[in-house]
C-alpha cells in the first residue's frame, strides 16, 4: 500500500482541497484569471470578516469596562469629555451596567427573597432536560414522563405559590365522578352492563382517568404549601421568555400532530374543522392574537370573569404555534409512502397504533429540521408579548436601559448585546441538538 499524496490527507490535504486548490491553476490565461480573482476575493473576505470580528471582540472584551469598584455607576463608563476617566473616543461595552441589572433582566420584578423558587425550578428543569437528552442515562422514558407531568405542576406551584382558589368540595365531587366513570368502564369491559356500555367501555374509562387526573392536579394546585404568592405580573425577563417559549414548544408539538392527523382524516367534519382552525391561526399575525387575547377578550367576557393576562398570552402563543407545527407535521405525513399504511393495515394494527408505531415516527424524523425551525421561531417570537405589557427578556432589558443612573452612550448597545447573546445561546443549542438527532437517526436507520 502506498501512502496517500500530501494533497489528499491530513491538514495539508484539508487546506489544499478547501482553500488553495481553487487558486493554484495558472495553466491557461483564463484559469490564471480565475485563480487571481479567487485570491483577491478571499483576501477581501478575510479582511472584512476579520475587522468585523475584531471590532465585536474589541467592543465586548478588549476595551470593555468590566468593573465598577468605586460604585460610581454611570461615571465608570464615561470618557474624560463626558466627565469620567476613560480616554476620549472610547466606545465599548459597559458590563457593570448589565451586572447591576442582571436580576431585573433575568427575572423582572420577581421578589428577591423568593428567587430561590425560580432557581429551583430552573435547575430542576435543566437537570430533567439533560437527563432526557443524554442517551447513556438509564430510565430516560420515566424521566421524560415526570418532566411532562410532575415538573409542570411543581413549577407552577413554585412560581405562583400554588394555593389557587378552587372550592375543594367541587374538586372532590369531580374526583368521585371520575372514579365512578372508571368503574363503569371496568364493569362494562367485564360485560356486566350489556353490549351498549361494553362498546363504549374504553371511552368511559378514558374520560374517567382524565377527570381523576384533572381533579388531582386541581387539588394539588389548590393545596397551601405555605409559599408566598407571586402574581404573574411580577414575573419578567428571561423567566417570562422561558415560560412562554417552553409552554409553547411543549404544547405545540402534540397539538400540531393531532391537527395534522385531523386535517388528513377521512372524516370530512374533522378534516374541515382542523383545516379551518389551522388556516385561521396561520392567517393572523401573532401580534393580533396577543392583542385580542389581552385587550379584546376581556370585553367579551361577562363582568367579573377575569383570568390571568400571562395565561391568555400563553394560550394565544400555544394555538398559534400549534397551527404552524401542524403544517410542518403534515409535510412529514405526506412524505410517507402509501405502502407503509397498507403494511400496517395488513398486519391488523388499529388506526392509532398505525399512526403511533409506524407513520409518525417516520414522518417526524423527516421533518426534524422543520420542527426545530418552528421551535426557534417561536422562541424568538416570545419577544412580542412585551406588546401586551408582559416583560420578557428583551422588554425587561429595554426598561433597564431607561435607568438614568446608568445613562451612558453605550448603555443600550451593551444591554442589547447581552440579550442577543442569551437568545443566540438558546437558539444555537436547539439547532445543534436537531443536527445531532438527524445524524443519529440517519445512522441507525440507513435506507
Amino acid at each position: 500500500m502506498l501512502p496517500p499524496p500530501a494533497t489528499e490527507a491530513g491538514i495539508t490535504g484539508w487546506l489544499w482541497h478547501n482553500i488553495f486548490e481553487s487558486m493554484a491553476d495558472f495553466h491557461s490565461p483564463l484559469a490564471a484569471m480565475r485563480s487571481l480573482f479567487m485570491i483577491l476575493f478571499s483576501l477581501v473576505l478575510v479582511y472584512v470578516f476579520g475587522t468585523q470580528i475584531y471590532g465585536l471582540l474589541d467592543f465586548a472584551i478588549f476595551s470593555a469596562v468590566f468593573s465598577d469598584p468605586d460604585g460610581v455607576k454611570r461615571e465608570a463608563c464615561w470618557t474624560v469629555q463626558q466627565g469620567g476617566s476613560l480616554p476620549d473616543g472610547w466606545h465599548a461595552a459597559c458590563w457593570p451596567f448589565v451586572v447591576a441589572k442582571q436580576k431585573f433582566a433575568l427575572f423582572g420584578p420577581f421578589p428577591s427573597e423568593e428567587l430561590w423558587r425560580v432557581y429551583l425550578a430552573l435547575v430542576a428543569g435543566a437537570a430533567g432536560l439533560a437527563w432526557v437528552m443524554i442517551e447513556r442515562l438509564p430510565f430516560r422514558r420515566q424521566a421524560g414522563f415526570l418532566m411532562l407531568t410532575v415538573y409542570p405542576l411543581a413549577t407552577f406551584i413554585l412560581l405562583t405559590g400554588g394555593n389557587i382558589e378552587v372550592a375543594m368540595t367541587r374538586v372532590a365531587i369531580w374526583f368521585v365522578f371520575g372514579l365512578a366513570l372508571i368503574s363503569v368502564g371496568r364493569l362494562g369491559n367485564a360485560g356486566r352492563l350489556g353490549t351498549v356500555v361494553n362498546e363504549f367501555a374504553g371511552s368511559f374509562a378514558g374520560v374517567g382517568w382524565l377527570v381523576v387526573a384533572f381533579s388531582t392536579v386541581a387539588a394539588i394546585a389548590a393545596f397551601d404549601f405555605n409559599l408566598e404568592p407571586v402574581d404573574t405580573g411580577d414575573w419578567g425577563g428571561l423567566l417570562i421568555t422561558l415560560v412562554v417559549a417552553v409552554t409553547g414548544i411543549v404544547a405545540s408539538l402534540p397539538l400540531g400532530i393531532i391537527l395534522a392527523l385531523g386535517r388528513r382524516s377521512d372524516m370530512p367534519v374533522i378534516s374541515v374543522l382542523c383545516t379551518i382552525f389551522i388556516e385561521f391561526w396561520r392567517g393572523v399575525p401573532l401580534i393580533t392574537v396577543l392583542f385580542m387575547a389581552s385587550v379584546m377578550l376581556p370585553l367579551f367576557l361577562p363582568a367579573g370573569v377575569n383570568f390571568d393576562n400571562l395565561l391568555r398570552a400563553l394560550i394565544g402563543v400555544m394555538l398559534f404555534s400549534a397551527a404552524y407545527m401542524a403544517e410542518v407535521v403534515r409535510g412529514g405525513l405526506q412524505a410517507i409512502d402509501k405502502g407503509q399504511y397498507e403494511g400496517a393495515d395488513a398486519v391488523g394494527l388499529s388506526y392509532w397504533q398505525k399512526m403511533r408505531l409506524i407513520i409518525l415516527p417516520q414522518a417526524l424524523t423527516h421533518v426534524i429540521p422543520g420542527i426545530v425551525n418552528t421551535f426557534i421561531g417561536l422562541f424568538k417570537d416570545t419577544t412580542l408579548v412585551s406588546i401586551v405589557g408582559i416583560f420578557d427578556l428583551l422588554g425587561a432589558g429595554q426598561s433597564a436601559i431607561a435607568d438614568a443612573a446608568w445613562s451612558t452612550p453605550v448603555q443600550a448597545i451593551t444591554m442589547y448585546l447581552y440579550v442577543g447573546i442569551i437568545f443566540f445561546v438558546f437558539c444555537f443549542g436547539m439547532s445543534r441538538y436537531s443536527i445531532y438527532m438527524e445524524n443519529k437517526l440517519s445512522k441507525s436507520r440507513r435506507h
Partner: protein
C-alpha cells in the same frame, strides 16, 4: 348462496376459507371487478394471473379490505367483510399479506418488524413474540439478519422478511401480491423457494404472480383474469396444456415464448 351450496354440497361449510359472491368494484367510473364469484377452500393454493390492469391485485386487496368493494358479499373464514371495523380487524389478524414492494417498516429492525403485530395486535408478551419471530426468520433462512434494518438487506432478503413478518401472526391464509415483480432476477428464486416451502406445509395461499413455473409446481387452481372478470379457472395441468379461451391462449403464448 344457493348455487355454491349445491355445487359443493359434499364439502363441509367449515372448509370454506373464502367465498366471494357477485363482487363488483369501481374506481370512480372505472369498473375494476365485474361479478367475481370465487370460493377458496382450506389448504388450497391458488395462482391468479392476467395482463396488467385486469384487476387481479384489486381482487386480493379486497380480501383484507385494503380496497373496499361496492357490491356483492365477501366472507373470510365465516366472517362477513363489511364496514364493521371489528370484522375487518378480525379478518386482518387471520390473513397475512406480502406486497410487491415489501412494505417493511424502515425505522424498525428486522426483529421488531416481525414482533410488532404479535405484540400490539395479539397482545403477546415480548419474549414469546421474539421467540416466534426467530422461528420464522430461521424458516425463511435469515435469522442472522435479525438486528439489522430493512435498508441494509437485499431485495430478496427483504421480501423473505416480509413473508416472515406475515407468518408471525400465524395466519390461516396468505395473500401474495406480485411478490417477485420488484426483484432482481437472481433473487426471485430465493423468494419462490420460500413460498414453495410454505405451500408444502399446507398453508392456504392466493398468489398474484407471473411466475408460471411456480404456478405449475404448487397451484391447485390457476385463475386467469382479464378486464375485471375471471375468464378461466382450471387446474394447472389443463390450464397450461389446453386453455379454452382465446384471451388466455394469447396471454400464455406471450408470457411463455419469449
Amino acid at each position: 348462496m344457493a348455487q355454491t351450496t349445491t355445487k359443493n354440497a359434499q364439502i363441509d361449510a367449515d372448509d370454506i376459507m373464502i367465498s366471494m359472491k357477485g363482487v363488483n368494484k369501481w374506481f370512480g367510473s372505472f369498473h375494476v371487478l365485474r361479478d367475481i364469484n370465487l370460493t377458496v377452500y382450506k389448504g388450497e393454493r391458488i395462482v391468479i394471473c392476467g395482463p396488467s390492469g385486469s384487476g387481479k391485485s384489486t381482487l386480493i386487496r379486497c380480501l383484507n379490505r385494503l380496497e373496499e368493494h361496492q357490491a356483492g358479499d365477501i366472507t373470510v373464514q365465516g366472517i362477513t367483510l363489511n364496514n364493521d371495523l371489528k370484522n375487518i380487524d378480525e379478518i386482518r389478524r387471520e390473513v397475512g399479506m406480502v406486497f410487491q414492494h415489501f412494505n417493511l417498516f424502515p425505522h424498525l429492525s428486522i426483529l421488531e418488524n416481525c414482533t410488532l403485530a404479535p405484540i400490539w395486535v395479539r397482545r403477546m408478551p415480548k419474549a414469546k413474540a421474539e421467540e416466534i419471530a426467530m422461528h420464522y426468520l430461521e424458516r425463511v433462512k435469515i435469522p442472522e439478519q435479525a438486528l439489522k434494518y430493512p435498508g441494509q438487506l437485499s431485495g430478496g432478503q427483504q421480501q423473505r422478511v416480509a413473508i416472515a413478518r406475515a407468518l408471525c401472526m400465524e395466519p390461516k391464509l396468505m395473500l401474495f401480491d406480485e411478490p417477485t415483480s420488484a426483484l432482481d432476477p437472481e433473487m426471485i428464486k430465493e423468494v419462490l423457494d420460500t413460498m414453495v416451502g410454505l405451500a408444502e406445509d399446507g398453508m392456504s395461499m392466493i398468489c398474484v404472480t407471473h411466475e408460471m413455473g411456480f404456478a405449475r409446481k404448487v397451484a391447485n387452481r390457476v385463475i386467469f383474469m382479464d378486464e375485471g372478470q375471471i375468464i378461466e379457472e382450471k387446474d394447472p395441468e389443463s390450464f397450461f396444456n389446453n386453455p379454452e379461451n382465446d384471451r388466455t391462449k394469447l396471454f400464455l403464448s406471450q408470457i411463455l415464448d419469449h
